[in-house]
């Protein structure tokens, strides 16, 4: 890959991530769902305090343990539908949510399989939520994404969300990362 190709790819990845954040913050959730592949995996482990040399036990395991999220498109779609009922009281009245996405790194293109080329991307997030009056949460962490090239654009095929908290300091997780 030439330097120009690398820059263009990075540009394209950033544009995808920023557009995704825009859809979430504007509550255009159904359009957001269209950015996800049908086999998307959305995973957010819990984190434990462990000794520095036992980091293999730090995260709960996908597909094995209890986590904050460990799901596919079906459950994500139901989350969206719940918010759109207008009587999901935890998000009614709606929270004010802002996604700050930064430190975007294109880690490399995966093997070009039958489902197309996949690109591993890492980024940082700061998700700010303010609701009702004074209730405010600031959730910060890292995301490890797999973007799949579909019909000339990208779709999100996998997201691992690493929140930099052990005890969750928010009362609920009614929004997306």
């Amino acid at each position: 890959m030439s330097d120009v190709e690398r820059l263009l790819l990075r540009q394209e990845v950033e544009e995808f991530l920023y557009r995704e954040a825009e859809l979430l913050d504007e509550r255009r959730y159904e359009e957001w769902l269209e950015l996800l592949t049908d086999d998307v995996r959305y995973f957010m482990p819990m984190r434990r305090n462990v000794p520095h040399d036992e980091t293999e036990r730090e995260f709960t395991r996908e597909g094995v343990d209890i986590s904050w999220f460990d799901e596919g498109k079906d459950t994500l779609t139901r989350r969206v539908r719940q918010i759109l009922t207008g009587i999901h009281w935890a998000e009614e009245p709606p929270s004010r949510i802002c996604h700050m996405i930064s430190n975007v790194q294109v880690l490399g293109a995966g093997p070009a399989g039958p489902s197309g080329t996949e690109i591993a991307v890492k980024s940082r997030f700061l998700v700010y939520r303010n609701r009702v009056e004074t209730e405010t949460d600031v959730l910060v962490g890292k995301r490890e994404d797999l973007l799949r090239r579909v019909n000339g654009g990208f779709k999100l095929a996998r997201r691992r969300i690493v929140l930099d908290q052990s005890v969750l300091l928010a009362k609920n997780l009614t929004f997306f990362f």
Partner: protein
């Protein structure tokens, strides 16, 4: 005692009137730490989390951090997580395996049986003055491992664990026994949900004690359908066939929502999204009939074991602990249970269901947290505190002699099959809460 006189007008369970003061008042909260949490049997953890010698899990008893660990000879202990010398936490990891707990402040170290084994400069700095046998980790007064769950109390005069749960054992077992009726046989899935909710700990405790009335809270998830058959938030068929029973032990403070299936009707279909799971539960329930006889028909739901442990004996099978973190905040810990012998596909299906139902990311319980948060917040004001909450629903409708086609059940039971709901269980909880708050010692609580 001034506080006792104070409580007199605040908790009137006979009339179903309870002051908001007990949820928001700082003095009452402080008194609870001594009167309730320093006396009662509290849930600590699950034995499957400390399988091997040296394994430990840091947990909580009320506000205080404790270490659950298995010593080198295999014995289970619960210690206050605080160095005897200057109080530093001797363990700030959540779980692991160790030979000893060394305090990072001055270096006192303790074996996994709590013995003080290491004191820097012991000979030169203390000479013969320090009697190490008197300065081991502070250990709970009593500990019980019951069907792999670990419980403890700080009060030496507390009754035995089995006396403490009394007739509630039948209902607690609905969570801890395997679905096919074998004793024990459940395990905790790895990972404990831990999160903060801005409300008094009694909001979730009384909600889980048996609040069937809050359907409006969960209407959105019911519309969306996350249940094991793709409808509603859970499978409703067998619930709707059953008698709905609010079961309380007011003299103990424990309670549960229970369902008694008909003795003569075929079971409604469940788990329609997953034939393997449906087949598993069908086989378990056939086995349950053989093992338990007519009492196979009894199934549990949410409940609260006084004061702050809530078993949920039906899918999602969980155990929640509502740790007090000041009058206005609760730290929730949530364990998730499955039959240890269930096939991997069944465990996996249930795990996914548990996560999408429960806790801060659960489509159902997200809305509970919103309610507890703002109910608490709106009850703190000077005017709000002058107006009590209403717990009158179903007053005077309970019986101590429940019977259904020859099957009798322990506890004071209100049949709410027609009424849909009662506040019988909440009244039982607060009756016991008041006794704990007024009693000078366990002698007055037996």
């Amino acid at each position: 005692m001034a506080l006792m006189k104070h409580l007199n007008g605040l908790v009137d369970v006979d009339r179903g009137i309870i002051s908001r003061e007990i949820f928001v008042n700082e003095d009452i909260y402080r008194a609870e730490q001594e009167q309730v949490f320093a006396r009662a049997w509290l849930f600590i953890g699950h034995e499957s989390q400390i399988r091997n010698p040296g394994d430990y899990l840091v947990s909580s008893m009320g506000e205080e951090s404790v270490i659950l660990c298995r010593d080198r000879s295999g014995r289970v202990h619960v210690f206050l997580n605080s160095c005897r010398h200057r109080g530093m936490k001797v363990c700030r990891y959540d779980e692991g395996n160790t030979i000893e707990f060394q305090c990072p402040y001055h270096g006192w170290s303790y074996a996994t049986d709590g013995t003080l084994v290491g004191v820097p400069f012991a000979k030169d700095a203390y000479g013969a003055q320090l009697d190490r046998s008197q300065w081991g980790l502070i250990e709970v007064a009593r500990l019980e491992v019951y069907k792999s769950t670990v419980w403890a109390t700080w009060d030496r005069s507390a009754p035995s664990f089995l006396d403490y749960i009394g007739g509630y054992k039948v209902y607690l077992d609905l969570l801890l026994d395997a679905w096919d009726g074998r004793e024990g046989g459940t395990e905790a899935i790895g990972g404990i949900h831990k999160w903060l909710v801005p409300c008094n700990w009694k909001f979730p405790a009384e909600n889980f004690s048996g609040d069937r009335y809050h359907g409006v809270s969960h209407r959105s998830v019911d519309m969306v359908g996350i249940g094991p058959s793709g409808q509603s938030r859970r499978d409703m068929g067998e619930r709707n066939q059953a008698r709905w029973l609010d079961v309380s032990f007011p003299e103990l403070g424990h309670s549960m929502i229970a369902f008694l299936r008909p003795h003569d009707a075929p079971l409604a279909p469940a788990y329609q999204d997953a034939p393997v799971v449906a087949d598993y539960f069908r086989r378990c329930e056939e086995e349950r009939k053989r093992r338990r006889g007519d009492s196979w028909r009894l199934f549990g739901g949410p409940g609260t074991m006084f004061p702050n442990t809530s078993p949920l004996a039906r899918q999602p099978r969980t155990l929640a602990v509502w740790h007090p973190r000041g009058p206005h905040q609760t730290e929730v810990w949530r364990w998730y249970f499955v039959d240890a012998d269930a096939p991997p596909e069944v465990k996996d299906f249930l795990r996914h269901y548990y996560i999408r139902y429960s806790g801060p990311s659960g489509l159902t319980e997200q809305d509970d947290m919103e309610n507890w948060n703002y109910a608490h917040k709106a009850s703190r004001g000077t005017i709000a505190r002058q107006h009590p909450y209403n717990y009158e629903m179903g007053l005077g409708r309970s019986t101590r002699a429940f019977e259904d086609h020859g099957l009798t059940l322990p506890g004071a039971i209100t049949d709410v099959t027609v009424a849909n709901a009662s506040e019988h269980n909440q009244r039982g909880f607060y009756r016991r809460w008041r006794q704990f708050m007024e009693a000078a010692s366990w002698d007055e609580l037996r």
